[in-house]
């Protein structure tokens, strides 16, 4: 019951009430993992589903993300104590020449909502920036391009990862306004996310934790 309330509050983007409910959950004997999985992640899953169907829009996702980040501030130290790691680690960025970030930020939010640790290399990120950000434990490199003029840098980045000997151990996920499934197939990416919620679901599949 308390988890469904946390999920509902997250969907409504209510950070103050969220802290209160998490405290209540702990009082009732819930573990931080249960709050994360059955409350926050379940809530963000629902947010993602509503976004995919046009039931809610970007502002509502931002509000839910703010509530989730507030809750994670409470949970992260407790989760670290229990030694449970994230669902996976993702390097995320907008490729070279492209300064657009709202779509990338939404993907970051939805990945965190699935329990991923996100290493955000920002916007206008050259191939070597992605390469340098890939350290031990990174399973996915996710790239975004809004402009058809910058989309080729996705291919360049894949090539740079390959030259650095990293491609075989990584999954590549792509998205953004200038990217399509056909483009994704052509450049040899492993997954194309048409929106932020889809990207998070695909990321779970790529690390073998999908539904």
């Amino acid at each position: 019951m308390i988890f469904s309330q946390i999920s509902a509050r997250l969907q409504n983007g209510d950070p103050k009430e969220m802290a209160h409910l998490i405290g209540q959950a702990f009082d009732q004997g819930a573990t931080p993992e249960q709050v994360l999985n059955q409350g926050l992640i379940a809530g963000m899953d629902r947010v993602g589903q509503k976004f995919q169907t046009g039931e809610i829009y970007i502002p509502h996702m931002l509000l839910a993300a703010r509530a989730m980040h507030g809750a994670l501030d409470i949970l992260k130290p407790l989760l670290a104590e229990t030694g449970n790691g994230p669902a996976g680690r993702v390097v995320l960025g907008t490729v070279q020449g492209d300064h657009h970030d709202i779509g990338k930020n939404l993907v970051s939010t939805m990945l965190e909502g699935k329990g991923f640790e996100v290493i955000d290399v920002g916007i206008d990120a050259p191939p070597q920036t992605f390469v340098k950000a890939v350290d031990e434990g990174v399973q996915i490199v996710a790239m975004s391009a809004l402009l058809s003029t910058t989309a080729p840098f996705i291919g360049d980045t894949i090539e740079a990862l390959d030259k650095a000997g990293l491609r075989k151990t990584l999954k590549i996920m792509v998205g953004g306004g200038a990217v399509s499934q056909e483009f994704s197939d052509e450049i040899g990416a492993d997954a194309y996310g048409g929106d932020a919620a889809t990207a998070a679901v695909l990321a779970m599949d790529l690390v073998g934790k999908g539904a």
């Binding site: 983007g13 046009g54 809610i56 829009y57 970007i58 502002p59 509502h60 931002l62 509000l63 703010r66 020449g97 492209d98 300064h99 657009h100 709202i102 779509g103 930020n105 206008d124 402009l147 058809s148 003029t149 910058t150 306004g177 200038a178 399509s180 048409g194 929106d195």
Partner: protein
């Protein structure tokens, strides 16, 4: 029938002697790429802001020449001289918004001067500067009434999010709606004052450029659009109509969830009708082709950059077949002619419009 008459007839929406042709926006690279086929002495492709004055004049003259050579019916003017350099990579506009320059596309707003109420209290909004209308003046003198003169005016949503930051504005719609309204009212005042200047300079068509959607959905909910954006744009539409102008609504993306609101607002035209965003020309024509003119839809994401002139020719022919019946269609690309488009494909689009556009259409 000259280009101006052709455009204004189509925007009625009615049938001219032939389907008009229009360039909504065009970057330096395609101006130079197309221009190299019709003139000489063009500079290397670089950001217009970084060109010498002689190079700027050559590029603008080439832009006019493209419109004359390919019989483009309307000319799009926009502000020039409203930006000042911050450093090699950034410029600031008259509102104090800072933009990151890119060799790959339009500058992207990154520095937002009105994030909080306290910023607004200290903020001195600019007044429209007649000197920034120089491109409109040059076009009017060059074309002498032969072509319709369009002006790109940033609409309420774009101006507001550039001032506030997009994510911040979206959150403020929940946290402090009055703040969003106050910024929108300030922007409206600027736009209405600029409209007065434009009317005095001989404008024919106002384009309210206000991107509100991505290829999947609108960026904000329809109820938020109705509360925070459309009332302000509607006032511009009504003021422009009162002054005898036609008004075109430009927005990227999937506009279907907002379509009835846009139709109710009284726009004369809708642009750019991105095929990748579900804005199929035949579907839009069926839904509202009797209410407003359709401008756009020739794919600039894949077709114009990567297709062949033959494919462009076939696409223009199909667009005219899908939406040309009875008029109310103006052919142009599905967004700006950006640095990635192939000049030969742009020329194929221009030529195919003339080849297939004469009424009765094929």
């Amino acid at each position: 029938m000259n280009g101006k008459k052709r455009i204004l007839t189509a925007l009625n929406p009615g049938q001219a002697d032939q389907v008009p042709l229009y360039i909504h926006g065009i970057n330096e690279a395609p101006i130079i790429g197309i221009g190299q086929q019709i003139t000489q002495g063009l500079p290397q492709v670089t950001d217009f802001r970084k060109m010498k004055d002689t190079e700027k004049f050559k590029v603008l003259d080439t832009l006019f020449l493209i419109h004359e050579t390919f019989d483009v019916d309307g000319f799009t003017a926009f502000e020039i001289g409203h930006e000042s350099p911050v450093d090699d990579q950034h410029v600031k506009d008259e509102f104090g918004v800072v933009y990151a320059l890119s060799d790959f596309g339009l500058p992207v707003a990154k520095g937002h001067p009105v994030k909080e109420v306290s910023d607004l209290e200290k903020y001195e909004p600019p007044n429209p500067d007649p000197g920034h209308l120089v491109l409109l003046n040059l076009a009017r003198d060059r074309f002498k009434g032969d072509k319709a003169l369009f002006w790109l005016m940033r609409g309420s949503f774009v101006r507001c999010w550039r001032l506030m930051g997009m994510e911040n504005m979206m959150i403020k719609m929940f946290d402090d709606p009055q703040f969003v309204h106050d910024v929108a009212a300030m922007v409206l005042e600027y736009n209405l004052a600029q409209l007065d200047l434009l009317v005095g300079e001989g404008l024919d068509v106002l384009v309210i450029e206000d991107d509100i959607a991505d290829k999947n959905f609108p960026l904000i909910a329809p109820d938020q659009f109705l509360e925070f954006v459309n009332p302000y744009n509607r006032q511009i539409v009504e003021a422009a109509h009162a002054k005898g102008l036609k008004v075109v609504r430009h927005s990227d993306g999937n506009l279907w969830p907002l379509m009835d609101i846009l139709l109710d607002t009284g726009y004369d035209g809708l642009n750019p009708l991105e095929p990748q965003a579900g804005m199929a020309l035949d579907r839009v024509k069926d839904y509202c082709g009797d209410q407003l003119c359709l401008l756009g839809n020739i794919d600039c994401v894949d077709l114009l950059p990567n297709g062949t002139p033959q494919q462009v020719d076939a696409t223009v022919k199909k667009a005219i077949q899908d939406a040309g019946q009875g008029g109310g269609l103006i052919i142009c690309s599905s967004n700006s002619l950006h640095p990635g488009v192939a000049p030969d494909n742009c020329i194929a689009m221009f030529e195919a419009t003339r080849k297939y556009g004469r009424y009765p259409t094929p």
